[in-house]
């Protein structure tokens, strides 16, 4: 489930992920500690793309985290431990040798990944962990891993402090069930198991830095881990699905009376259902959601599920693409039933942090065009009002329908052909020679056509068109590519 518009979403700015981003070689571990053989240290070398110079290969960096054996030669860790990976090694307790691993699945929307060793022999006979149930509040848990403060395995313990529906900061747009614990979780713990009675009841993944809140670490709970394991059973990860609606609490008696509801605390109003989402065309503004899969929805959006009050989206959370949920809807004073077939809603990805992707771009006459997404916004620190609006309202104002991709002129590589263009930088391309630009491919093909003496580019919020004399382009393109070391002048593929 993802927040649409201005729903109160927990602030995630201060949440930090617990992978270490600089690694040193560990000293040789001489003593065997068999008890934790299934808890491994994961070392990742990554290549992080630079959206300011998208033609470059990127920046080398690395880090380490923790993982654990869930089945023979199947290791679970956090997605953020192995994101943008170039090469991954797994290290075993008491064994200095790094074992080369490969990533089988990586789920950025729930921050989990599964790894496999090229040669599993080192872990033969090691007992995998079993995944337990959602732990109860105020019960004791142990966190195992390789956090900062030393090279060898570390164990901390604490109690389950809170069970809530929170933002996962790895993607920054996904909300899932989360368990807060007061055991110390530190950088390097990421991906490590949280144990209760010898079973894994969580994967340590994020927390606040000490100057924001103390003793608040978060772990990914069993329902989310299980869903991930089930999703990949067929050999591929299919992502979470969404109802794609925003809801408004029904606490005001007048709101209830106007909608014809009894004052019994049941029902939440549909503010908006995205047209292209699962519930699009089924739910509409002013509908009241009374029950989801038979469970009454309270007016604050909670349902009682497996004995706990949880967000009603918890029902959707455990489903897969193609699954159907049953809704009871109060519409125009009548109770109606509806079935919603769940699917993934891709427009959300625009505001998500993305990984394992090569930046896509077109460089033409020194003008760099890139599709708008969170990575681009962060890299270019864009102030342009139109770009900010398109980014903010991409889903809530259904901009995705008109522009599947919002193409931004992000920067200009200065050259005599573009010396008067600087004021056009960081604006959205609307048209090229009269053709509406809806994707990066559109602008690449529109710029490639060779009809007319001029190329005219219309940008949103810019009074005049940007005009390029076509006869000057070929020479300029060559000159700019050489001067600025732009190896390829475009990269269009989507992975």
């Amino acid at each position: 489930m993802k927040p649409i518009t201005s729903l109160p979403v927990p602030t995630i700015a201060a949440l930090t992920l617990f992978a270490i981003s600089s690694s040193a070689l560990p000293a040789k571990d001489t003593k065997k500690s068999n008890q934790y053989e299934a808890v491994v240290r994961i070392e990742n070398s990554s290549l992080n793309p630079d959206y300011r110079t998208p033609w470059n290969s990127g920046r080398d960096s690395g880090g380490n985290g923790t993982g654990w054996l869930v089945a023979p030669n199947k290791f679970v860790t956090n997605a953020h431990v192995v994101s943008n990976s170039r090469i991954v090694y797994i290290k075993k307790v008491g064994d200095a040798k790094p074992y080369r691993a490969k990533i089988l699945h990586i789920a950025h929307d729930c921050d989990l990944a599964m790894l496999e060793l090229e040669d599993p022999s080192a872990f033969e006979g090691v007992e995998p962990f079993e995944v337990g149930e959602l732990p109860q509040l105020d019960t004791t848990v142990k966190v195992i891993g390789y956090p900062i403060g030393g090279e060898r395995i570390s164990i901390t313990s604490g109690v389950v402090s809170r069970i809530d529906f929170l933002s996962y900061s790895h993607s920054a747009v996904d909300l899932h069930l989360t368990v807060q614990i007061d055991a110390a979780i530190n950088p390097g713990n990421s991906g490590g198991p949280v144990l209760q009675n010898g079973k894994v009841v969580g994967v340590a993944f994020q927390g606040y830095s000490g100057n924001v809140a103390q003793n608040t670490g978060y772990m990914i709970p069993p329902p989310v881990i299980r869903r991930f394991l089930k999703d990949i059973e067929d050999g591929q990860y299919d992502h979470y699905v969404d109802l794609t609606m925003s809801e408004f609490t029904l606490l005001n008696p007048a709101q209830r009376a106007a909608l014809g509801l009894a004052n019994d605390g049941i029902g939440i109003m549909v503010a908006n259902a995205e047209a292209d989402g699962s519930a699009g065309g089924i739910l509409k503004t002013g509908d009241v959601l009374m029950a989801i899969d038979g469970l009454p929805v309270k007016s604050n959006g909670l349902i009682n599920y497996e004995g706990e009050d949880v967000n009603m989206n918890e029902i959707v959370e455990r489903k897969f693409a193609g699954d159907v949920i049953n809704l009871k809807i109060w519409r125009e004073q009548k109770l109606v039933s509806a079935k919603v077939t769940l699917k993934r809603f891709l427009p959300y990805l625009i505001t998500a942090k993305q990984y394992d992707k090569k930046p896509r771009y077109v460089m033409f006459a020194g003008l760099v065009f890139q599709p708008m997404d969170r990575n681009l916004m962060t890299a270019h620190n864009i102030k342009d009002l139109q770009v900010r609006y398109h980014y903010d309202a991409y889903v809530s104002d259904s901009i995705y329908k008109e522009r599947p991709e919002v193409i931004v002129l992000t920067s200009i590589l200065p050259d005599s052909i573009n010396s008067y263009f600087s004021s056009f930088s960081q604006s959205i391309v609307d048209e090229v020679n009269g053709t509406k630009i809806k994707t990066l491919k559109d602008i690449h093909s529109a710029l490639g056509k060779s009809d007319g003496d001029f190329i005219t580019i219309r940008l949103l919020g810019q009074g005049r068109p940007l005009v390029i004399d076509r006869s000057r382009v070929a020479a300029a393109q060559k000159r700019i590519q050489e001067k600025y070391n732009v190896i390829r002048d475009h990269y269009l593929e989507e992975q």
Binding site: N252, A254, Q255, M269, A271, K383
Partner: protein, 492 residues
């Protein structure tokens, strides 16, 4: 408003710097300049039923013929009480504002408590010409009433902002240290004892004074003569420079020297009424060639923005001959100058001497969106204000096309029994109220008088789209709020 606030601070800094060319003052300073003491109280934009704490401003005014005093508009905006004071005798009279133009930053005052108050003063005449190199004198008084004169030298003129972002006028710059005395907000500047302008700001860092020149003052006073003030005309265009060779070739401008490209024409303003269109290139105005930057050659000041050709000399109602290039062909267009008043804008660019229009329904506070409201979000308001409101401000035509006169916001919800559950909602654009489309605050008030059932139905442009408020509960809450606030709506 920000410039006003800075000046008193500069005064304090200046007090420590002692360098000035202070001469024995000519006798006419004390006879032609009076102190103007105003108490001002702006309306509170967050709690529109009340005014902020009063503050005072001490400045100087130039005595005009007919028993009137000229000051800057900044001196009298939101004034609740105005006093004229003679520096020599400290005699005082209550005054009122006869005319004010916030855009041109000028106002005329008249004594009301004593009609003959200015009879013993010597009115200024306006200096008819200023030019670079002129030595002019800024006139002010010591605390004890002794006149002080500071000589500064005129260096150049340019078209710039007075105190509103939205209006540009001729501004003369002069060099020289000015040592401010207290009570010297805006100083009359004299040339050969004639009024050359009003010194409106001074930068102590580079010692440059900005002067609102006599030519603009004269335009303002002349407009007032018939008793009906028409205001400075505006062209109503947005334009781009045409320095770029490729762009000039595309516009078929290669043969011409200058020209500016019209990006947009404001509906209802002079250019649109005369048939100018986005995409036209303006080549000359009244025979003055416009260069590729949008300047023309002024005989005295050199390169000046074309906007001075529109509002410097001509009056609203006058005609301009505008030479344009349209689709590569030259045309001459006769353009009648009109003035699109600020009240006609979707989002009022300023708001002085009147309170924000608002209405409270059950504790929900509705208000028309104005630029001063956006500026409540601080110096960085262009980045911090809600993005939908910024978009409306940048692209008012989006809403004007739908027939909106104003944008009505649900600014916030005062926590009351009627607004239970809505406490976190704020700055939402209202689309409908009780089923009626809302185009200004009056629409909203009228719609609130006609609920269809027992609940008011309120629709917003964005999340949560739809809320309801109990009609009877709202009426009771409003009665209580009226007791507390005094007023709960201002529709005019």
């Amino acid at each position: 408003m920000k410039i006003l606030m800075k000046i008193p601070i500069m005064l304090l800094l200046l007090a420590a710097m002692v360098t000035a060319t202070i001469k024995a003052a000519p006798t006419s300073a004390e006879k032609s300049v009076v102190r103007v003491n105003t108490t001002m109280q702006a309306f509170n934009l967050i709690q529109p039923w009340q005014k902020s704490a009063p503050s005072s401003r001490l400045g100087l005014g130039a005595v005009l013929p007919g028993g009137r005093v000229l000051v800057t508009a900044q001196m009298v905006t939101d004034a609740t009480y105005i006093e004229l004071e003679k520096a020599d005798t400290a005699a005082k009279a209550i005054a009122k504002v006869v005319a004010v133009d916030y855009e041109a930053n000028l106002a005329v005052l008249q004594p009301v408590s004593d009609a003959q108050f200015l009879a013993d003063r010597v009115p200024f005449e306006l200096a008819d010409k200023l030019q670079p190199g002129d030595k002019v004198e800024a006139w002010q008084f010591e605390n004890n009433g002794t006149p002080v004169t500071t000589e500064i030298k005129v260096s150049k003129a340019e078209v710039g902002r007075y105190f509103l972002d939205s209006s540009m006028f001729l501004t003369v710059r002069a060099n020289g240290t000015v040592q401010y005395r207290s009570g010297s907000f805006t100083l009359p500047v004299a040339k050969d004892r004639q009024l050359a302008g009003l010194l409106v700001s001074y930068s102590s860092k580079d010692q440059v004074s900005s002067i609102l020149p006599a030519s603009i003052i004269s335009h303002f006073l002349k407009d007032l003569e018939d008793g009906e003030y028409a205001g400075f005309p505006n062209l109503g265009i947005g334009y781009s420079q045409t320095l770029d060779e490729q762009f000039r070739k595309y516009l078929k401008l290669s043969e011409e020297k200058g020209g500016i490209y019209i990006n947009e024409v404001v509906p209802g303003a002079s250019a649109a009424a005369a048939g100018l269109k986005a995409g036209d290139v303006i080549l000359d105005i009244d025979g003055n060639p416009i260069d590729a930057r949008g300047n023309y050659d002024h005989p005295v000041w050199g390169k000046l923005s074309l906007s001075h050709l529109v509002r410097g000399k001509p009056f609203t109602g006058d005609n301009l001959q505008v030479g344009i290039l349209r689709n590569g062909k030259k045309q001459l267009i006769s353009l009648k100058l009109i003035r699109r008043p600020a009240e006609d804008w979707l989002i009022d660019p300023y708001m002085f001497d009147r309170g924000p229009k608002f209405a409270v329904v059950g504790g929900l506070v509705f208000q028309e969106l104005t630029l001063p409201f956006l500026k409540l979000f601080g110096n960085d308001w262009k980045n911090r204000a809600p993005i939908k409101l910024l978009m409306a401000n940048a692209n008012p035509e989006m809403y004007e096309k739908q027939g909106r006169r104003k944008l009505v916001l649900m600014v916030r919800a005062i926590p009351t029994p009627a607004t239970l559950g809505y406490e976190k909602l704020s700055t939402l654009i209202v689309t409908k109220f009780n089923g009626k489309a809302i185009n200004d605050i009056k629409d909203l008030h009228e719609a609130s008088l006609n609920p269809e059932g027992n609940q008011h139905r309120i629709e917003f442009e964005s999340y949560p789209k739809l809320i309801f408020v109990d009609v009877n509960l709202a009426a009771r809450v409003d009665a209580a709020l009226e007791q507390r606030f005094g007023i709960i709506r201002r529709l005019d």
